[in-house]
Each structure stands twice: as C-alpha cells, then as structure tokens.
C-alpha cells in the first residue's frame, strides 16, 4: 500500500479556512435534501423488509439445504441493511428533517441486542465528538484491543488476536456490552447503581432479541424449529462478521491518527474537522458494497457530516478528497481486502510489547 505523508498540522488560520469550506459544503447539502433522500431510505426499508419476509418463509417452509442457504442469506441481508443503512443512519438523525415518525432518530429501535438509547449516547455523543482521542473515545480498541502503540501494552494484549476473532463472531454482544460499560464496572470506574441503570434496558432488549430469534420464530415453524433457530443464528453471525469488518476498517487501519487527551482540548470546529479526517479511513468499492456498509465505507465523510443522509457520501467524496489534498490532510482509503489486512496485521503486531513502537 502506498504510504501517505503524515498530515500537516494546521495553523489556526488554515483550520478556520477549512472550517468555512466544510461548513459551506454542509449547508449546501442540507439545503438540497428532499424527496430523493426519502425515496432512497424507503426503498432500502422496503428491500430489507421484503428480504426478511422471503428469508423467513424459506426457512420456515423449506426442507432442503438449498432453501436453507437462500433463506439464511436473505435474512442476513435484511439484518445487514436494517442495522447499517437504516438503523445506524436513522439513529444518527440523518432523516429527522423529514419529520416522519418512522424515520425519527429518537424513536427508532434496531434489530440488535444493543439498546438504541445506549448506543445513541455512546456512539453519537462520545465517539463522534471525541473521535480517536485516547481516554475519551471508548471506541478506540473497544477497551480491550491495542490499536496504536500509544496505548500502553498490557499482558492481556497477547490474547488480542483471539479476542478480536471472538468479537467478530459475537459483535452485536460486544457493542451491547460496550454500551452497558461492563469493563469500566469491573475496573471500578462505575458504581453498581449506574451499572444497574444500563443493564436493565440491555437485558430487556437482549431478552427480546433472543426470544424472537430462538423462541418465537422457531416455535412458529413447529417441526422445522431447529432449522429456523440455526438459520437465525447463522444470519446473526453473518451480520456480526460483516459489521465487525466494516467498523474495524473505519478507524483501525494503518494511516489513521490517534490523539492524546490534551490535543483535542479547546479545539476549534475546523480542528475538529481535521481530526475527523485524519482519524477515519474509507473503503473503496461499488455502489451495492457501499449500501451494505450503510455507507460507512465513507467513514471520513460520515465523520465530517454525521447528520447528512449517508447515501450522499459517495457523491461528496471527490470534493472532500480535493479539500484534504489542498490542506495536506490524510485521506486514508483502500480496497476492502487491503484495509482488512492492514487492521489484522496491526492487531497482531501490537499484541507484542515492543513491536510497532512507531517505525513510521
């Protein structure tokens, strides 16, 4: 992979100019929102629902392996679309301007064990405000993984290749635990009452999800119950693996910058923009690929303008790239395989104490 130069540190004047350019761009796109955006998200909702119905019918009434594979795939596709392009983006408030209750960020609840309210708080607020700031953005390595040499090595990190693989298979549970802030509890940073407040909604949500996937729908299928339960499990796992890969490519590939807590203090909006650019990485691919990632393949654009409908990002990307080039900011991007490989290599390398103490 071609190595890009380190991002230029902006003077305050340059940061102000960047701020103005990006603010203008944001305003321009906001003013352009309309029917096409609503039609897009509704057609994705339609696709996801239709795919779920087809998947469940095939699983419930089919007997042969072929319908099992087709049914599981259709259900997995529906879950991926629902979590990524619909759930994630709607819950970001990207469609709040429509005032359609079905697209209301505050009311939307996704098909995932992580409770929507928890996620909205830690993701929309913590992660998007303090992106890549060590000690502030809990998404940097999700507490257990070492993704930059600046995180102090702990013996536990020797296990991180194993841990990351496990996380990939049960990613929805990882996200939910992360929302509940379990690790902080075990290290004494949270009181029991605080934990209780978070655990109850999580248990309620997770309980329903389990009941739905492994109780209700299998029971509906009577004799076909094991087939339905396994199909649901596989669909969940496929969705988990997919989201894990997409999310990990967003902030952990080589070339992404991390910040010390002091560095982001008292920063201007322009400096915040620069941090979003340098702290995120894109994935290249076709339009269906982008849709399946919920357009998080345009992580940089998403971090700059998290409240713009995500389907706008591909058209926006060349303009952002041009701005980054002019201001000497690093626009990290690459094909899916290459980015994934880069993340895997880094997780392996940083599992060891002395390795990777920056050779860049």
């Amino acid at each position: 992979m071609k190595k890009q130069p380190e991002p230029t540190a902006l003077t305050r004047e340059q940061a102000d100019a960047l701020e103005k350019e990006l603010d203008d761009l944001h305003r321009e796109l906001k003013a352009d929102l309309g029917q096409a955006d609503v039609d897009h998200i509704r057609s994705v909702i339609r696709l996801s629902r239709a795919s779920e119905i087809v998947g469940r019918l095939l699983l419930h009434f089919g007997l042969d392996p072929l319908t099992f594979v087709a049914g599981t795939s259709a259900l997995a596709l529906s879950k991926i679309l629902e979590n990524m392009e619909i759930g994630h983006n709607v819950m970001h408030g990207q469609y709040d301007w429509t005032l359609d209750p079905a697209l209301d960020s505050r009311a939307y609840e996704w098909d995932l064990v992580c409770a929507g309210a928890d996620w909205r708080e830690y993701h929309n607020y913590e992660h998007h405000t303090f992106t890549n700031v060590l000690g502030k953005d809990r998404d940097v390595g999700y507490h257990y993984l070492r993704v930059t040499p600046e995180q102090p090595w702990r013996p536990m990190h020797l296990l991180q290749p194993l841990l990351a693989t496990g996380l990939a298979f049960g990613f929805q549970w990882g996200i939910a635990m992360h929302g509940v802030k379990f690790p902080e509890k075990f290290e004494g940073q949270k009181t029991l009452t605080e934990l209780h407040q978070r655990v109850v909604p999580f248990l309620r949500k997770a309980g329903w999800q389990l009941f739905k996937d492994y109780g209700f729908f299998p029971a509906l299928a009577l004799g076909n119950a094991p087939r339905v339960a396994i199909g649901n499990l596989l669909a969940n796992v496929i969705r988990n693996l997919w989201t894990f890969c997409v999310i990990f490519c967003g902030h952990f590939p080589e070339g992404v910058t991390y910040y010390k807590e002091g560095e982001a203090k008292d920063e201007s909006r322009g400096q915040w923009y620069a941090r979003q650019i340098n702290g995120s990485a894109n994935i290249e691919g076709g339009s269906f690929f982008h849709l399946l990632t919920g357009h998080l393949s345009h992580q940089i654009e998403h971090h700059l303008f998290p409240d713009l409908p995500a389907s706008r990002y591909p058209d926006l990307a060349p303009r952002i790239r041009e701005i980054c080039a002019r201001y000497g900011q690093r626009y990290t991007t690459g094909p899916f395989g290459a980015q994934l490989g880069s993340v895997a290599k880094k997780l392996l390398r940083l599992a060891l104490p002395q390795q990777g103490l920056t050779t860049a």
């Binding site: 929102l33 309309g34 029917q35 096409a36 955006d37 609503v38 039609d39 909702i45 339609r46 629902r49 779920e52 119905i53 970001h92 408030g93 709040d96 301007w97 429509t98 005032l99 359609d100 209750p101 079905a102 960020s105 505050r106 098909d111 708080e121 929309n124 607020y125 329903w208 739905k212 209700f216 998290p306 409240d307």
Partner: protein
C-alpha cells in the same frame, strides 16, 4: 361496536408484544404497500369526497381508521402532508357535528392560502381515495365548556374561514335538537366568499331559534363589514349572551377589546387561526443563555422572538408542527427561567411547566429539557 376495557387492554398488550417482535414493522410495511388506511399505530383517514364551497374553500369528507377517538363540535385536527420529503403539519377545523368512536366519518374545511404549500397541495392534488395522516381532535372551542350553553342564549361571531368551527357547532346543535336562542353573525369580504351559507339557511328555516346575519365588507346595501355600532344594533342583547368568536385577527382583536371594555371577557370564547401578531417585542433585551438538558449543552440566543426560531438559529432542531401555538408538537418542559407567551402576553416563571417553544419568548436565561436530535 364498543370494545370492553378488558378487550382493549388485551389488544394493547398483544400489540406491544408484536411491536417488540418487529412484526409491526413488517405488518405496517405490507399495509403501507397496499395503500390502505389500516394501520397498527397511526391515525389515518381516506378522503371520500371533496366539495368546492367557495373559490378558495374546499370541504374534505374523511373516513378515519379504527384509531379515531371521536371529536366534539368546534375542535380541529392536524393534517400531515409530505412535500419534497418533508412532513408538514397544519390544523384544520372540523366542520362535522360531534362524532364518537363508532362514527368515523368527519369533514374538514381547507381554505387555500396564497403561497401556502399545504393548502395548495390539498386543493390541487388530493382527490377522493387519497390517504392522509391526521391527528386526534383537539381544541377547547366547544360548547360543553360553556356552562349549559344549549339552554342559554348564544352569540356566534365569525369572519372569513372562521365560519368552519361555528358551522360544526351549529350542525351539532341541530343534530341534537338543541338549537335554542342563537344569533350567528358572519363577516366576509364579498358574497362569493361566504361558505356554507345555503346550509346555514336551511338550518335556520328548520330552527326558528336561529337568526342569521351576514355582514359584507362590500355589500350592496353599503354595509362596511364589522363595526362595534353595527354589532350592537344587530344584537342589542349581546352582553347577556355567551359568545363564541372565530375569525381574522383584526376582527378578533376588536371584538375582544369591545367585550373587555364592558367587563364581559369571561363570556367570550375564542379560537385563533393562523399566525398571531406578536405583541410588540416584549422580550428581554440582549442575548439569552439557554441551557438545554438531554444531553447537557448551552446555547446563546439573540433573545428576540419565539424560542423555536431562536433555537433553530443556533443550530438546534426542536420538533415542531404548526409554529403558531396550536399543535403542541414543540412543547417541552421548562426547568427554570421566565418566558412570555406571545399569544397571551402572560409571563410565567413556574419550574417544570410545559411551554410551547413556537409561541414563547425568553424573558430571562432559561433551562429547558430538550432532546438533541443530531
């Protein structure tokens, strides 16, 4: 058919379970695809008839789905219309007599406002068969709230499209055989602008207790529209009547003043349409700090005009509907501070009260509970 309380509870529990299972999403999806008015949660209505009342007023006769809870004559409903991807909400008076849950037929009157996007859309695009999202009936411009009005003498005063809630009340009294001693004085610009007059005349022929008076701005008899003297001549005993008033803001202000001067404010009930004229610029001079909770943040606003516009100007996006103090979509809880209601001119400092952002102005620094939407 009326459901038992137990049946209703059972259904609502089952509905909640279904929602948690996401069955509702699939089910609402299928229902939406079929374009029916049936909905698991939303109140919707199908347009069954559109009637031209005047060149700029149309009646839409609607058939609501099973979520309709009925209405009292004089109330209004909100109507949601999606224009270029954005839902717009407006309030329209119901013109039909009171209904209950079992009768889901209702009608609204829509006046086409020049430049008004929603009323233009309803006039030009909405045909019988169309499905509209509506809100439940609300408003307290109803007779029951006036002590035993039916048996007392009433004065109904309206101007322009303000005839609509009054018509609903008259239809209701007529349907209940309760038209006592009623004088209805309506004001309009020209004869052609008078909606529903034929029907009003037919009610007055049936009900001798109802007297109709029409005041035109450009009448053949040289009449001049509303004047205090004219009204006194038409209804000499107006002071002894319970009065209901709905019309343009100019007319309403004059009537309000007239009643107030005679100490009759208590006997006057009114319904406001459209945007209120702000009472001067009552607010606090200079910037106002607004602390918002959920999550915690502080915004500095310029302190002039409605809080809704103020907050929007500094990047907040509170939920809103009508923007003129009717629909309560923008209502939020005020933890502390003083606001003035731009409609009433009243100031209040009560902690924890619900305020409507669109018609409240800050009189001090404020602390509001307002969800962040980005």
């Amino acid at each position: 058919m009326r459901e038992t309380t137990f049946g209703r509870e059972l259904r609502s529990t089952a509905l909640k379970i279904a929602q948690r299972l996401f069955l509702d999403r699939s089910a609402s999806f299928v229902l939406d695809e079929l374009g029916t008015t049936r909905s698991l949660r939303e109140l919707r209505a199908r347009v069954v008839k559109v009637i031209d009342e005047t060149p700029d007023i149309k009646t839409f006769v609607l058939e609501a789905n099973r979520h309709w809870r009925g209405h009292r004559a004089g109330q209004y409903v909100t109507v949601d219309v999606e224009l270029d991807g954005v839902r717009h909400r407006r309030c329209y008076s119901l013109t039909s007599a009171s209904s209950d849950q079992s009768s889901r037929r209702l009608s609204i009157a829509v006046k086409r406002v020049p430049g008004g996007r929603v009323s233009t859309f309803l006039h030009e695009r909405v045909r019988p068969g169309a499905v509209l999202n509506i809100g439940h009936a609300s408003g307290d411009f109803v007779l029951d709230a006036v002590p035993s009005a039916a048996s007392q003498s009433l004065l109904l005063l309206s101007g322009g499209s303000g005839v609509t809630p009054v018509l609903s009340i008259l239809r209701d009294l007529d349907a209940r055989d309760a038209v006592g001693d009623v004088v209805f004085v309506h004001h309009a610009r020209r004869a052609i602008d008078v909606a529903f007059w034929a029907e009003l005349l037919s009610i007055s022929r049936r009900r001798p207790g109802l007297r109709l008076e029409l005041c035109l701005d450009e009448g053949d008899d040289g009449s001049k529209g509303f004047t205090e003297e004219g009204l006194m001549a038409l209804v000499p005993d107006y002071a002894s009547r319970h009065t209901l008033l709905c019309g343009p803001s100019g007319l309403m202000a004059r009537v309000e003043r007239m009643w107030a001067q005679r100490g009759l404010t208590e006997r006057l009930k009114l319904e406001r349409f459209g945007s209120p004229t702000p009472l001067g610029s009552p607010t606090h001079d200079g910037p106002v700090k607004v602390r918002l909770t959920g999550p915690e943040r502080t915004r500095l606003t310029s302190g002039r005009g409605s809080l809704l516009a103020q907050l929007e100007a500094v990047g907040e996006r509170p939920a809103f509907g009508c923007r003129v103090g009717i629909c309560h979509t923008c209502t939020c809880t005020k933890r502390s501070g003083t606001v003035m209601n731009l409609l009433t001119g009243l100031t209040s400092s009560r902690a924890g009260e619900a305020i409507q952002l669109c018609v409240s102005a800050a009189m001090s620094d404020l602390h509001l509970e307002l969800q962040e939407t980005t």
